[in-house]
Subunit: 210 residues, 2 copies
Amino acid sequence: MSGYFTNDDIVAMEKRRRTAFINSLSGFKSVSLIGTVAASGQSNLSIFSSVTHLGSNPALIGIVSRPGGRHSLQNILETGCFTINHIHPAVVKQAHQTSARYAPEVSEFDATGLTPEYHALLPAPYVSESVIKYGLSLVESHELKINGTTLVIGKVVEVFVPPACLLADGTIDLEAAATITSAGLDSYHTTSRITRLTYAKPNQLPQDMP
Amino acid sequence: MSGYFTNDDIVAMEKRRRTAFINSLSGFKSVSLIGTVAASGQSNLSIFSSVTHLGSNPALIGIVSRPGGRHSLQNILETGCFTINHIHPAVVKQAHQTSARYAPEVSEFDATGLTPEYHALLPAPYVSESVIKYGLSLVESHELKINGTTLVIGKVVEVFVPPACLLADGTIDLEAAATITSAGLDSYHTTSRITRLTYAKPNQLPQDMP
């Protein structure tokens, strides 16, 4: 198997092979469960591996929804809100299972056994089992011309994070929460910190933080 | 320290604390080095933690560029191309150091000691030290109304991946390449696979792949 691929090689790959290859090319992903509710009241829970920080002031997070995706995007556009819930090893199979194509009247909470949790500020459901979770209100969406994928941008409305996962400088210690990362279509990973590095300045190599 | 934060609490945080908090909220990130070249020929290398898979057919990857960011975005718009280079533990300090605000005439390759590598299809430089790297041509960009951040979308033109990092189904084994992930502003992590799970179907829990 060659180690060099042109776009022609990629286009010529069998579909499932190409999907596995390109999905793993971008590196480790921010994987979370997105909780939404339809105007009808039907709840939805779906695993997304495209959660992206877009700004801190205002606090903005993006997720990417594929065309022909399930009901998450439609629910977000209907109700103007969604929740993002971190995943830890004990719930990884249930989290992955939310990607199954259930009938429209089935809530992924019922189907997977994950527990919905509701809070006052938003109608969208949180995942009770998640250690870190946050709620967002829709502020903007962009449809990509080239493939119909939608970037959904939410502003952070509230955050739940255990005090034991907060470091002195405000950083959330994701390893203390056992938050996992994903790769490709189906691979899930724990992490081990190599280092935290000091703020980079010209003419001075970054130092390991004590 | 409380474990619950509303948007008002986030807005009221001291700036550096808020930046650390919100940057770590989204989970582990796809961190890579983005190589570009200006029309003048000046090369640029910059660490990005927002590399996102946007589609496999065509093969599309997005990166997010902050307003007032360095020269990467300007170079991509000028030359229509960029490279994405994975990071492994041996180069993490040099990779982090590319975020220092060097004078415009300084290439981050010279400043950090990382080695530029050129290939025929694109004028943008690759990072010789990176195990997995790929080149992209600009297809689309979207500026977020709310904060001026830009989503840059590239189509994959060529991929370099060692044959030893390719699994039988086309998946790239990121751990075989020692690709790292990042968290927050300054934290870098290796990973350990928990499992790969079979394709999810209703009424059947996913299985660990053999």
